[in-house]
């Protein structure tokens, strides 16, 4: 990054720095009591503590111990637990959702069967599934993965279905005219043509996955950022709770940015 582009980025996010400064000022000037809103610096301080609290058996090699301690810290272990659940749940829903959505668009029989199921599942508020999955699958990783999978599946199915349904028939004709066989049309034409819809469906699912991740971890879990928020909040550790909220915020932000960058790269062929 050049100096110039760094300045551009900093300038773009200037409103956030102003907000943080206002937060700090409000605490300094005692506008709000610490018990309601700990100061920004306290939150950052607590966050750094969480980053350095990894307990390990010392080996004596400084660098190696530092690395191991980092990975054993509160922030990193809980972030890793959350990310693992989120990525597996979302990943599975992408694989099944894209396949099912495209298959439904292509095969009338599948559409007849699954369309009513999708339609009835669509309006269910997905957090309502959390208690059910916890009863079925317990407090570990699996119940959260299942909730995220179920909640992300429907929007992905719908976007893949709409994308595949909306493929310009002239593109399909064009491929068949040049000798593409029926069996290869899906892969050669339908999938690439519905990619813009699929990718924006996945972006929506990414946002949903964060909501479900945190809420399911808050409801019942022994690790993860949602658990941390709930646990620290319950025990009145507000600076720590805010530090956990801060972590999930940053995680969500960078996940969306990274996804957007990848999506733009894949869809480079689209008109501006």
């Amino acid at each position: 990054m050049t100096v110039r582009s760094t300045i551009v980025v900093l300038w773009r996010y200037a409103p956030i720095f102003i907000l943080l400064a206002a937060w700090q000022m409000a605490s300094e000037l005692k506008f709000v009591p610490d018990s309601l809103l700990p100061s920004f610096f306290d939150v950052v301080h607590r966050w750094l503590e969480f980053l350095a609290d990894g307990e390990i058996a010392k080996s004596g090699t400084f660098l190696w111990d530092a690395v191991r301690s980092f990975f054993a810290s509160t922030v990193v272990t809980n972030t890793a637990a959350s990310m693992w659940r989120g990525m597996v749940g979302l990943g599975l829903s992408i694989i099944l959702g894209v396949t099912l959505g495209i298959a439904m668009a292509w095969f009338q029989k599948l559409r007849d069967f699954f369309e009513p199921i999708v339609m009835i599942s669509y309006p269910i508020p997905k957090p309502a599934l959390i208690p059910i999955f916890i009863i079925w699958l317990g407090l570990g990783h699996i119940s959260k993965i299942a909730v995220i999978f179920a909640g992300c599946l429907i929007p992905i199915v719908i976007s893949a279905f709409n994308g595949a349904r909306g493929v310009d028939r002239y593109l399909i004709w064009s491929a068949r005219n040049m000798g593409t066989r029926e069996g290869k049309l899906l892969w050669r034409v339908v999938v690439p043509a519905s990619l813009p819809d699929i990718l924006s469906g996945i972006r929506m699912a990414l946002a949903i996955s964060f909501i479900l991740l945190v809420s399911s971890e808050m409801l019942a879990a022994k690790s993860g950022l949602g658990f941390l928020i709930f646990f620290l909040g319950e025990s009145g550790e507000y600076a720590g709770m805010f530090a956990a909220v801060l972590t999930i915020t940053l995680l969500g932000f960078f996940a969306d940015r990274a996804y957007l960058t990848i999506m733009r790269r894949i869809l480079i062929w689209r008109e501006e």
Binding site: R176, N177, G179, R270
Partner: protein
């Protein structure tokens, strides 16, 4: 090498729904091997529909179409089409669009790139091989569509207003190229156009269709023998007379179609 025979072809769109459209009725036409036939007629008279049926995209409501003696059942690369609205793959570059048909025919990579580049050069798009269709103008897309279809060398060429988006000068160049390919590689061509001069100049025969439902109104012979050059043909009285005759005939149909509703 192939001929096209259409007998009593009829096409009704949406026959079971509330607003069926009789697009084509009682169309019988024979295009001989290596013949160049142009179709003109008012907008909405069923020219594209007829081409799509020859290409095998649409079922006929009645009648039959044979290509090379065999009834048309499915699309295939023996009948290459240039679509009115190009239908390029937007996710592929110009080069990949043009190599697509060759790839489907299992032509080795090096060779298909060579063939593709030759055709891209022919339509004057060298330098744009790695552009995506969204980065091209309408006329450039149309030229890619032409290159793409010519590249896989179909026996029958079905062209739906292939020069419609081009300026007069580029159109002239493309017409020359098409005629030279047609005479070198011997193809049967069915060519839809709104430009009567173009039809008379390019085709051996011009088919005039009636307003919807499209029927064949008349077929005019437009072969000009005994001229030394293209210019001489274009400036001849016979050419002007044919053009005028066909133009008037189409105009009658446009007037019949009533208000310009397309």
């Amino acid at each position: 090498m192939a001929d096209i025979v259409a007998r009593n072809v009829r096409k009704i769109y949406n026959p079971d729904k509330r607003y069926p459209v009789l697009a084509i009725d009682e169309v019988s036409l024979e295009v001989r091997e290596n013949e160049f036939v142009a179709i003109v007629g008012p907008s909405g008279c069923g020219k594209s529909t007829l081409l799509y049926m020859v290409a095998g995209f649409l079922d006929l409501t009645a009648g039959e179409i044979k290509v090379n003696g065999k009834p048309v059942e499915a699309p295939g690369p023996d009948r290459g089409i240039v679509f009115q609205h190009f239908a390029l793959f937007p996710w592929k570059t110009v080069l990949r669009n043009v190599t697509y048909g060759l790839e489907e025919q299992k032509i080795p990579k090096a060779e298909r790139e060579k063939i593709a580049r030759k055709h891209i050069d022919m339509v004057k798009l060298t330098g744009f091989e790695h552009h995506y269709p969204s980065q091209l103008s309408g006329g450039m897309k149309q030229r890619v569509a032409i290159a793409r279809t010519l590249a896989f060398d179909p026996e029958v060429l079905l062209m739906d207003e292939p020069f419609g988006a081009l300026d007069a000068q580029t159109r002239g160049v493309m017409q020359e190229e098409l005629l030279s390919i047609w005479s070198k590689r011997k193809k049967t061509v069915l060519f839809v156009t709104h430009d009567v001069r173009e039809a008379v100049y390019l085709a051996d025969r011009v088919v005039i269709m009636t307003a919807r439902p499209g029927r064949i109104k008349e077929i005019v012979d437009t072969k000009f023998a005994g001229y030394k050059s293209t210019e001489e043909v274009l400036e001849s009285a016979a050419f002007a007379q044919k053009t005028h005759q066909i133009w008037k005939s189409v105009r009658e149909e446009v007037d019949k179609a009533g208000p310009l509703d397309g």
